[in-house]
Symmetry: C2
Subunit: 451 residues, 2 copies
């Protein structure tokens, strides 16, 4: 019995694995709103118990529990899987073509909140382990599952966990939670993530909303918020907070070379999003550099006053904005938070309240690590394509606190695709990618054993 | 029988009149959301039929109907009452201490959406007519009621009405719909209103919300909205749209004198709103000038992306803002709308969509008109105080299209007070002011007859 038999088994069990995924996606596990979290834990415990015959350890935290298990294999190498069972909120709900928590198949895709980010990946890994167990009966190496419930709200308790449960984290390499195909349907293999600082700004004015006739003499907090936000970034996209750029580690020569090779489907991306251009008309290596190696300052949300239908003439009593800064290696979110506070203080906005939700440092794995070549080989074997190597994804995850801090190389690939709409309405994956994804995981376990 | 007997009758019937007001305020007549509008019309028809023994004419428009009736008196003078039966939306609902459409009495005040703006005034006028009818049996002059249902959404069909129903509009003077006491509880007598241009701006980006990791290369419409709004006003509160100020008619000497006399309770207002200062630290005549004689550019609402609880890392696909410009005599909202469009076009924002909801010109009545002295006398007689004359309220109404265009002098006073919270949560009036308000209307009918 070998990898061919495992692939056949996976093909024969496609419907079963899709069914597991649909069941899992039907649970609205929105951590930000504390919905469906217990139910998700119960569901996963049952799957691990019934399908893999192993108990998931439920590790309590100050927030939502972490789930852990280890399956022993026939070599002394360890590969860990990091995933999360929480998902992003589903709004704006009216833009979904089918209900976000009623997984629906249309044109070969499965639509559901969380199916790409990252329930599809977790179920694919569970299915891979299930297939090997069913066909071979033993694993080529030790496998650890680590599944948290707070990734979408900034993995706020993962730091504590990584300090107090080093035994559970220890591994020779870690397969990270996410992964997408590019516009050519070429699988992306990611070696790092950006960091993040997520803040909410609040400006308050009078103690009540007022008739807008008073706008002549009473200051409007929405106007002040506009002025404050306008301080943060200039027309050339430069972030204006003093000190913001000073700790950035310049990409190495090898990383610059990877950037040149990295394929970004510029025109397809623009067509898909119905846009004429990228920011500042960037193209080519400049665009790729900005995308992968430069930090951002993004408005995730802004709100003040009356936003319903029609006209209401009101002077709002408060205005707020949610911002995320995506950070690159070297930048320290804690330090930048302090710099942001000081910047507002120094520019006439000492009254702005800043609440921070999430602080992550960026992380990068060396392209020379053995797990990278094992992954490249596995992906080639299953898809017949060389993966599109992303030296540093523009996205964020707690890879620093869980891996880089402990010198564990981490890589990421998965079952999503460019138009998976993660964090947005109509999130989806191709069912075909999901099945291929299961096969790649199986292959990686053997490739990495021998690497 | 004379005015003393009418006052006694009003005192004896206080509870009845408050009951009428509560019934009317229980109807959620939110024009912006098309709620409770028919019910309001039915209610008023019944009140006019049963209490004043007169039929209200229901005049259909392209929107909500106008209500009209004329009660003939013993002289050939005519005083018209302009009111509206629609109210502002009640949100933010969670800040109301009692439900907005369950009128509730607390500490001598009646709380309900619309009680100050302006159901209290309409019912006071109906009650005044009822009291004179009951005590005297005939009216000192002709009285017209004109009650529209679209004041809070910009009186969009009043222009047509004022062109096609001049007979119904004709009057020697018009008592306008609103009125408030100042912080000294001194009744304000208003001789004019500002105009308005209300617009909604919309900027669209990609065709879907995206994961905010894409903020490095995909333009964020919220950022563009910030930049566009920032073009509109400078730190000195100057509105930067070219041509915005050029048609303004400078206040006359008499109007400047009235401004000097006008009492604005600066410190009380700041204390009440828990603020340290007015815009740009203005005080005294500069503050009053800005409040009454200068136009505004106010953000009524702004919205983009995720505004729920916690963190969501999203790159929004659109951003919108609602703005109201309060205009002063001479300014033409239609012209300013064109200037706004051109200004955005010329500054890199040709893609901003501008929808206009409301366009009103400002209006002012001469302080020398007979109805002004009649009103001053009536207010003095009932309240023992000289009214605080407001030559031009910072608020807006269709006074131009209904009165100034037809050379009808218009004045306004009513039963609200400074902290009536019109357009805001916990809208309220003092019941005592309501009863005094009924008496002042009765007095005015006789004073104006003899003026």
């Amino acid at each position: 019995m070998g990898i061919k038999e495992i692939y056949d088994f996976i093909d024969d069990n496609q419907q079963t694995y899709v069914e597991w995924l649909k069941e899992f996606c039907a649970i609205p596990s929105v951590a930000a709103q504390n919905r469906g979290m217990e139910e998700s834990v119960d569901y996963l415990r049952e799957v691990f118990q019934k399908k893999l015959n192993t108990d998931l350890e439920v590790i309590t935290t100050k927030g939502f529990p972490l789930l852990y298990t280890k399956l022993s294999g026939t070599s002394d190498k360890t590969l860990s899987f990091y995933n999360h069972y929480d998902v992003q909120p589903e709004d704006p709900i009216d833009l979904w073509e089918s209900p976000p928590f009623e997984p629906t198949i249309r044109e070969g895709k499965l639509f559901a909140r969380g199916v790409a980010d990252n329930k599809g990946n977790l179920i694919a890994r569970i299915a891979a382990v299930h297939a090997i167990k069913s066909v071979i009966g033993e694993f080529p190496l030790d496998i650890k599952f680590l599944v948290e419930g707070e990734e979408e709200i900034g993995s706020i308790n993962l730091n504590d966990f990584s300090d107090y449960h080093k035994d559970k984290i220890e591994a020779d390499a870690c397969l990270w939670e996410f992964g997408y195909r590019d516009m050519n349907h070429n699988l992306q293999l990611t070696l790092g993530v950006k960091g993040m600082l997520y803040v909410e700004l609040l400006i308050e004015g009078a103690n009540t909303d007022l008739h807008s006739a008073n706008a002549s003499i009473i200051e409007n907090p929405a106007w002040r918020l506009i002025k404050a936000l306008n301080l943060l970034k200039n027309e050339q996209e430069k972030i204006l907070i003093p000190g913001f750029y000073e700790d950035i580690i310049t990409p190495s020569q090898k990383e610059k070379e990877l950037l040149m090779k990295y394929h970004l489907d510029e025109n397809d991306m623009l067509n898909y999003l119905e846009l004429d251009s990228f920011i500042n008309d960037l193209r080519g290596n400049d665009l790729k550099h900005k995308h992968l190696y430069e930090p951002t300052c993004n408005i995730c949300g802004i709100e003040s006053g009356y936003t319903g239908a029609g006209a209401k003439t009101v002077l709002p009593s408060k205005a707020s904005a949610k911002l995320d800064f995506r950070l690159v290696p070297g930048q320290n979110p804690e330090k930048i938070l302090g710099e942001l506070r000081e910047y507002f203080d120094d520019n006439g906005f000492p009254d702005i309240k800043i609440e921070s939700y999430s602080k992550e440092k960026a992380a990068r794995t060396s392209p020379n690590d053995k797990v990278v070549s094992a992954a490249i080989n596995s992906i080639k074997k299953v898809t017949n394509q060389t993966p599109n190597i992303v030296p540093n994804t523009p996205g964020t995850g707690p890879m620093h606190k869980l891996c880089q801090k402990h010198n564990i190389p981490a890589i990421s690939f998965g079952v999503g695709h460019f138009s998976s709409n993660n964090h947005a309405p109509n999130e989806n994956i191709f069912l075909e990618d999901f099945i291929e994804g299961i096969k790649i995981i199986c292959t990686l376990l053997y490739e990495y054993k021998n690497a």
